[in-house]
């Protein structure tokens, strides 16, 4: 234990941390964390870990004039100690910040703000995905390890640029591959609550994920070995890599060349990225999956209806989805409010529509991608017996957005509906025939839902899938039940108006 403490003291005390070290540490941490995140996710733990590790190593063994560097301590030992410290700090801070982020989510969910995030605290239920993520963190971290020993600023920048480029290239290639493979097995999608793009998309979508994981492990091991060897080589060649070389004239001479190379490489990478993405989007837009076959009919993306194959569908309760997991097929994509295939759609949403191969009437339909939603044809939903449901509620169109800004678990934009009103509506209008064209020019929209446990549905932070009983449309100042033929009048209209005026939130 004492040896561990004294080892940590080498990095803390046997060198002088100056402002330049801290500034370079910030730059280093930033480049590493950006490379790690592949641009579109946050990995602040890696930033702080990389910054701290860099500053400690650089100020001690990384500098020629520190006390640590002047000790009769072999180069192999210096690199070994630094190597271990670097990995431990980097991974430890990554995990700490990851857990802190999860804890934050739990706290936010507990305070009722979970609706704003609409994700659960853990990304995966498959341990392999976590293992892949850790390997990715380790591999990326150690790509940058030799930078801690490079004194020459120009070489340091070149190395960081090259490592970031390598990491970005890997991310682009895996994204490209995973975009083209599509979903192999819809059952696996149901095992997670929130898709993490790289790990799930790359590891789960490609065939033989175990083989790819094995290859990836070998690549990471290779990176770790090479970075160790390179660090030793750097320390053994202070004239080539060290600071205070006294060759400023040489650096000035090559500065223009170095900058030109770096700018050219960055430009080529951006261009290549743009071309790849454009090609991917173009290819995507010609695939059958990228024909829009379903879209939402209202602004209520949780309980509101959608249209598919000319029919109206409502959100389905869980037990009503496809009985056989392997019988699904993709037949197109889903767009909220008619959103089209674009660069952002392909990168961020990519909501595909799945149907049961064995059911040509398409009783059920699933949306999988950024969102996970199950739908049932309105005509099938109408046939449900309501005797098993304990709570009935009416929701306005904006309830989910309003709920996101409330504190506590309570949801906004709802009113409790007396079962008598539901029965009256059912008796007067019977089985409603829903038409997509009725939703084209409405002024207001409300969903009537049924929950098995109504109180739990309102008080729980989780958005439960209800059975949709029906809906109210306001068109040209009149109120309709389900379609334009079912005009609400008389006492029933008065009772419904009381409900609409008394809505919570």
């Amino acid at each position: 234990m004492k040896k561990i403490i004294n080892t940590l003291r080498i990095f803390r005390y046997l060198g002088k941390i100056d402002t330049k070290d801290i500034i370079n540490g910030f730059i280093f941490g930033f480049v590493v964390s950006i490379s790690m995140s592949n641009v579109y996710s946050s990995t602040s733990g890696v930033f702080w870990g990389a910054l701290i590790a860099y500053v400690l190593i650089r100020s001690s063994f990384g500098k020629n004039d520190s006390l640590a560097a002047s000790m009769a301590f072999g180069i192999n030992m210096k690199v070994t100690y630094s190597y271990i410290l670097y990995g431990v700090i980097g991974i430890f801070s990554y995990i700490v910040f990851l857990l802190a982020g999860k804890l934050f989510l739990f706290v936010m969910l507990s305070l009722g703000s979970g609706g704003m995030f609409d994700i659960s605290a853990f990304n995966y239920q498959n341990a392999t995905n976590y293992f892949y993520d850790i390997l990715l963190v380790i591999g990326t971290l150690y790509l940058f390890f030799p930078v801690c020993f490079i004194g020459k600023a120009s070489l340091r920048w070149m190395w960081m640029g090259a490592a970031a480029l390598a990491r970005f290239s890997y991310g682009i290639i895996t994204s490209f591959i995973s975009m083209n493979y599509g979903y192999e097995n819809i059952q696996k999608l149901e095992e997670i609550d929130y898709e993490a793009f790289i790990s799930y998309g790359f590891m789960e979508r490609m065939p033989d994920p175990e083989l790819h994981l094995a290859i990836f492990c070998l690549v990471v091991a290779l990176i770790m070995i090479v970075s160790f060897k390179l660090a030793i080589k750097i320390l053994r060649n202070p004239r080539r890599f060290g600071d205070n070389t006294g060759t400023l004239t040489k650096i000035k001479k090559h500065r223009t060349k170095i900058i030109t190379i770096i700018v050219s490489v960055v430009f080529i990478v951006i261009l290549a990225f743009g071309v790849m993405v454009a090609a991917a989007v173009r290819k995507a837009s010609t695939k059958p999956e990228y024909e829009m076959v379903a879209h939402s009919l209202t602004n209520d993306n949780c309980y509101g209806p959608v249209t598919f194959e000319g029919e109206v569908y409502f959100p389905a309760e869980e037990e009503e989805v496809f009985p056989e997991a392997n019988n699904s097929e993709v037949i197109g994509y889903f767009g909220y409010n008619d959103e089209k295939v674009s660069l952002w759609y392909v990168l961020l949403s990519e909501n595909f529509v799945y149907v049961d191969k064995n059911d040509k009437s398409y009783t059920y339909m699933k949306v999988r991608g950024c969102d996970l939603r199950d739908y049932i044809k309105a005509s099938a939903s109408e046939k449900k017996d309501l005797s098993g449901y304990g709570g009935f509620y009416i929701w306005d169109e904006d309830w989910s957005h309003q709920t996101a800004y409330k504190t506590g678990f309570e949801k906004a934009g709802w009113s409790e509906v007396n079962r008598d009103i539901i029965n009256s509506l059912e008796e007067r209008y019977g089985v409603v025939e829903y038409k997509a064209e009725d939703f084209e020019n409405y002024e207001a929209y409300y969903t009537l839902t049924a929950f098995k446990d109504g109180k739990k549905a309102i008080d729980s932070p989780i958005i439960e899938e209800p059975h949709v009983v029906g809906c109210i449309l306001k068109i040209d100042g009149n109120y309709y039940y389900g379609n334009k033929e079912n005009l609400l009048t008389g006492n029933l209209l008065e009772e419904v108006m009381v409900l609409l005026e008394s809505e919570t939130g």
Binding site: N6, N64, F73, G246
Partner: protein, 241 residues
């Protein structure tokens, strides 16, 4: 012929406006060599080159028969370099630092360290940042001697040190030199220290070593009317030419 502990040949270095060109320098083994020169003449740069803290463009440095570029670790077992200011965190306590140094170099003499700390009345449990600059200089010398080097290179070790402590530090260097295999090179502006203990004087100016000569030889050479000059007078004579 006396062996050389340190040999620099044809050292070339450019650093901003300062240039060290074709510098040749030798430090005799078993002797104390004092390095003097004007401010900005390159004394500190030379010492840092010897320590490997700076890298020269071309040339050779051989310390105790070992080329610096071939085996710096082996050199560090035999030679200790002390800069003009601490090259470690001032937030550390000397006792902690000594413990860590002992872990890195098992030959570190903890008894010597403790006895010298008592001699200079330095509190090993007080952080270095709370020491005065003179106390820090003493600590640097103590830590260097505790590492049991054969060659000791110091950059202005007695500057900002009170006269009593300075005398004690010079006594420590002479005690160190009781072993004939030991060598000391130190740069200084306090030429009276060289008068007391130096065997050789090296004068540096504009990145060049003007001369390296035995102190007594120099005194005889610059003697005026039978009066032996001090190192300061010799230095001024040479540099004003």
């Amino acid at each position: 012929m006396q062996e050389s502990a340190i040999v620099c040949s044809n050292i070339h270095l450019v650093q901003g406006n300062f240039e060290m060109e074709n510098l040749d320098f030798e430090v005799k083994k078993g002797c104390i060599t004092g390095l003097v020169g004007r401010n900005g003449s390159g004394k500190t740069t030379l010492i840092r080159l010897l320590a490997g803290a700076k890298v020269y463009t071309s040339g050779n440095i051989i310390i105790d028969g070992i080329p610096l570029e071939e085996n710096a670790v082996e050199i560090r077992k035999r030679a200790v370099f002390v800069f003009d200011e601490p090259n470690f965190s001032l937030a550390v306590k000397p006792d902690v630092l000594a413990e860590v140094m002992k872990m890195m170099e098992p030959s570190f003499n903890m008894e010597l360290y403790q006895s010298k700390m008592r001699l200079f009345k330095l509190d090993g449990k007080e952080k270095v940042k709370n020491y005065s600059s003179g106390m820090q200089k003493k600590l640097l010398l103590i830590l260097a001697l505790a590492r049991r080097p054969e060659i000791l290179v110091l950059d202005e070790p007695t500057s900002e040190v009170d006269p009593v402590s300075r005398a004690e530090m010079l006594d420590m260097l002479q005690e160190f030199m009781e072993n004939e295999e030991h060598t000391v090179l130190f740069s200084t502006h306090i030429t009276s220290d060289l008068d007391k203990i130096a065997d050789y004087i090296a004068i540096m100016d504009n990145g060049k070593i003007l001369l390296t000569e035995e102190k007594e030889t120099l005194r005889d050479e610059y003697c005026i009317n039978g009066v032996l000059p001090t190192v300061e007078e010799i230095m001024c004579s040479i540099l004003r030419k």
